[in-house]
Symmetry: C2
Subunit: 374 residues, 2 copies
């Protein structure tokens, strides 16, 4: 493959992520790297970590960009908190809740699931029942923005229940952070994580993580070593905080990009940004409904960042529709995961991808493709 062949085609990324990245952030990603102990890198990291706290709505000291994607952060947070034999209660209202269960089981936990039909929210009452039955629970976990269903999960009541049972509350914010309010501290979330390639508008490869003092103490008091050396919070914190002890070589170009993306976000302003995400999502859904493509997620709980819609019944080959959107128009949208495969489309309106221009382009492209598809 020569250099010329390797240049990717321009894409409008409206799938479940990655979303499009602005030229300003891409320029930052392409800057010449510095070493992992360079004093300038720690200046940048300090600023970046402060900006992440602002976005998470937290004063948690231990807030940092994990080297890895959102899935790495899910496993990182779970493996620091969960020990073999621990009771954990996990909400499963879609694909990613299921992954939490899988990871907790590999960690040797006793997992109780609280389930909802895919496309609906988890009910606080179901958590109350589970917590009543299980006895001593170490951790309650759920997904804030289920990327697989487009559902936005209310968190307040579950947080209160978890704390009433002296359990930690861990939340996946991969598809919400930077695109809608998350309010980690106000809501009572002990541990949260996200990914850079969705609403933050940076390339994939980093995962913001925030850990409360309470969760840190629980992790510090564990009886067995953390099973994953690469994800061990004690070692990671020794690098991000003084004395900055070498753990691994952080991906400095991705850190440049994330810092630039956070600057963009704070310059836009969080309230303005969240309103933009909502407005663009509303316009998309209105346009799709006019084409008889209807939302999948429960009304009143639809994400402004990831729009799940039912594949119309007359479309026999939804994969072909998506392929044509990509090949003829350079627009990527996502298909369904797991049990929703073939049944829904997932259309991201996140970060730099959340624009009216993209909505209009997608609507006309989709109309054109659907008119000539079966």
């Amino acid at each position: 493959m020569t250099m010329a062949e390797a240049i990717p085609s321009p894409r409008i990324l409206m799938g479940p992520g990655p979303s499009s990245v602005s030229p300003r952030v891409l320029a930052a990603v392409g800057r010449a790297p510095v070493g992992y102990l360079d004093p300038e890198l720690f200046e940048l990291l300090d600023a970046l970590r402060a900006d992440l706290r602002t976005l998470f709505g937290t004063s948690n000291d231990f807030t940092f960009p994990l080297t890895g994607t959102g899935m790495a952060a899910m496993e990182c947070c779970l493996c620091n908190l969960v020990e073999p034999g621990d009771n954990v209660v996990v909400g499963v209202q879609g694909f990613f809740g299921g992954r939490m269960v899988e990871i907790c089981r590999r960690l040797g936990a006793t997992v109780t699931t609280v389930c909802a039909e895919w496309g609906r929210v988890l009910e606080a009452e179901a958590f109350a029942e589970a917590l009543q039955q299980v006895g001593k629970v170490k951790l309650v976990a759920c997904v804030h923005a289920e990327t697989s269903t487009g559902v936005c999960q209310p968190l307040d009541a579950i947080a209160q229940l978890a704390h009433a049972h002296d359990a930690l509350f861990l939340v996946d914010m991969v598809t919400s952070l930077g695109g809608m309010a998350v309010n980690v501290d106000a809501c009572g979330v002990d541990v949260a994580y996200s990914g850079t390639q969705k609403c933050l508008g940076a390339p994939p490869g980093l995962a913001p993580v925030t850990v409360s003092e309470r969760a840190w103490q629980v992790a510090s008091a564990r009886h067995s070593p953390v099973s994953v050396w690469y994800f061990d919070w004690q070692l990671l914190r020794g690098y991000y905080d003084a004395p900055h002890t070498y753990h691994h070589t952080v991906p400095v170009n991705l850190l440049f990009g994330l810092q630039e993306a956070l600057c963009e976000i704070l310059e836009e302003g969080l309230a303005v940004r969240f309103e933009r995400h909502q407005r663009v999502s509303d316009a998309l859904i209105a346009g799709l409904q006019a084409m008889e493509v209807f939302p999948f997620a429960q009304e009143g709980y639809r994400l402004p960042t990831l729009n799940a819609v039912r594949v119309p019944e007359h479309i026999r080959d939804e994969v072909a529709v998506r392929r044509r959107l990509l090949q003829e128009f350079g627009i990527e949208i996502g298909g369904g995961l797991g049990e929703l495969r073939g049944k829904i489309w997932r259309i991201g309106t996140m970060g730099a991808s959340a624009t009216h221009r993209n909505v209009v382009l997608l609507l006309s492209a989709l109309q054109s493709v659907m008119r000539t598809s079966s």
Copy 2:
């Protein structure tokens, strides 16, 4: 932090990694991303994986760029192969051999170490003795290029011993791949991994991994699930190979950069590139010796990629020397790790950093700084 403040100072990276990245590779890293299921991405990945096989000197099908650094790859390979109670024999001639031991212990293995004084190579006889004593051994592991000591470990005899005892042979090639010959298949290495930010000349964040069919079969026959979901070979292979099942969102910008770096390497030619690394290292060592700065590693086994030298006795504050090199000349070199802290400097001549220009700049800068340091 404003955008202008976030632009990093130009650095000549001659530490233990990251090394400098060429403008061509940086331009690739800054390209607009595509989705993780984009057909163009799999075309790129197929070409990239073929190039990695060429560099590793292997025909192993399962050769891929892991999302993570070299340390992630170390843990990824070990956690797929090692189960609780397994006997493993690990060579420890420096810091990174020690990390293998730590990770194997967390995995519940029974670890036998074969040690050498830091700065010297491991002796095959010591492996023979250990293998004789332990009984059934699943895995023999060691580091090819010890970044902490600058030692190049001969592999052939250890490979033969491992296979004679029906054990797998796993080798860390983080500081050798792309800068010197590694010959995975010819040497009898079953599993090897590296990092992109050293001799490959790409930014940090990816780790090439290669897995023999024999190692794959051992991993596939394990009794317990792989403890780390994010590193599970079965799941990773399902993404990199057909049917390309979603596992995590791969860091596409880093993949663009790695592919460009591999093109650069193959255009230069492996023999030419390896000779350049050796020549530049020889020039550096000659220049340093003229300044009475002497090599640390055992003669005859010195890496051409990472030059470990003793801090001269008259230098009381070696940290200050390195700080001045960075601040006054923009040149990064590394200090010692672990027991070698304060005793050696580690000077990388890797990838785009391995040039005569850099050697001359470093020698004059170091001379100037040492003349005015105590």
